[in-house]
Symmetry: C2
Subunit: 308 residues, 2 copies
Amino acid sequence: MGKLVIVGTVAFDAIETPFGKTDKILGGAGTFIGLAASNFNIDSAVVSVVGGDFPQDYLNLMSNKNIDVSGVEIIEDGKTFFWSGRYHNDMNSRDTLVTELNVLENFEPKVPENYRDAEVVMLGNLHPSTQMSVLNQMTEKPKLVILDTMNFWMDCALDELHNTIKHVDVITINDEEARQLTGEYSLVVAARKIHDMGPEYVVIKKGEHGALLFHDDNAFYAPALPLEEVFDPTGAGDTFAGGFAGYLAKTKDYSFDNMKKAVIYGSTLASFCVEKFGTQRIENLSTTEIYKRLDQFKSLTQFEIELN
Amino acid sequence: MGKLVIVGTVAFDAIETPFGKTDKILGGAGTFIGLAASNFNIDSAVVSVVGGDFPQDYLNLMSNKNIDVSGVEIIEDGKTFFWSGRYHNDMNSRDTLVTELNVLENFEPKVPENYRDAEVVMLGNLHPSTQMSVLNQMTEKPKLVILDTMNFWMDCALDELHNTIKHVDVITINDEEARQLTGEYSLVVAARKIHDMGPEYVVIKKGEHGALLFHDDNAFYAPALPLEEVFDPTGAGDTFAGGFAGYLAKTKDYSFDNMKKAVIYGSTLASFCVEKFGTQRIENLSTTEIYKRLDQFKSLTQFEIELN
């Protein structure tokens, strides 16, 4: 069975959208990635840190999905990372209202012994040195290392980011961040420059416009499913990454052709994520639901043109 | 042979981009649509108006591509419509520097006798009453009427636009305009509302993010080809519409399945258009070039996932 180790935040989110608002609910990149990846029949572990205020129920929710949470350190006298944000009417931009790092401030990830030989490592958005320390704990070189990052680290830890990127096979990054990292407007040129920094595969996430996968001179485009209503975009990018990583860990095929499918799985899972607040929609997806939506992706994109 | 009548501006453009600038060159929606549609083996006519200052060479350019220009009225003592614009660094937004309507101000389109029974009518972006007058000249009800429009007419001729839209089978409109026309942010909901206004098919153009085709509960997504460099976006939307209309006029199959292919042809031709200033790149496309790019569209979008 494929083995996937995930590092990322496990946190509280409080979200406001034009459709409503939540109290503190379950959030964090590690959580969304873990839940998305749990839809594939794999062994996965989330490495993270929470405070004594973090409900056991949330950890149980993950364990019950067969996610190993022994690498989620609990600091009893600490408080869990908390983020709060408000989405604008277009749901494409948001203001951060609160960021309390709390226990995340001194987070030192510890990969469980039995996951130090995992074939696939998914480095969720964190300080690039924290991401690197996970790679350093691996006893065998992983078959595939995937890194997600954001503009914040480009602003305040660019050298460390460049260093970590060198050790990565796939990077997932949004369009604006790809432009910031490279100083190039064209995503084709930006992807090539990022490729030169290390990653053989570059996934550029474009939110409601889908995602682009670049490899050498090849490109693949997965649209986002056009939805009636985007209820809450929080975690969509992480859910995408979790679906992508989970599918690859399951199939153990790291070719460009199989990565295309991984991108489609990622987009499919992300399309569920935005339909309800937080992790609500992706906590209990049935195979039938997922297959139905994969079928929608097929209709959305597949065509027949005979060239003669 | 399929018969296509096109109404739209034939004009002078002067364009500034970060890559350079032009003097007055050949432009206009009718020109781009006509040139794009000329890649299909059909009978097509452009209905428009120009001034005495319009070079015969430009008309010859179109005639040589088998485009009937007998419906391009020449007002000897008038001046040709002139537009000038400057693109910003991101190439996605632009400022209009000059708009001189000139002979366009009193434009009364006259569809040539032998085109009044055309199966397909492409109404390029013009005052909705001007578009309607073309439909009124048709002696037989066209099999397919396609309308392109823009926010300007929503601001200053909304009632007329609503009236013309009623008589249309396909509308092509950009995402912001679809939102303005319906007051809906979700493109799925916006497309449904536009559908209720008349058109059975709604094509939403998203520039560098591609185009969406909606029909009943079905959606189809054609990405834009990711390009190294977008040199000049002028006319890309019209080129898309011309490829779309030309393919349908050629194949005479107005089903959703065939419209998907038409959208891909439209995107393919638009991807050439942006590579050089104005009409330069689409004046002489070879079948080989087009097929090669269609093949790139296939690689970009096609995948195999077995659901079991």
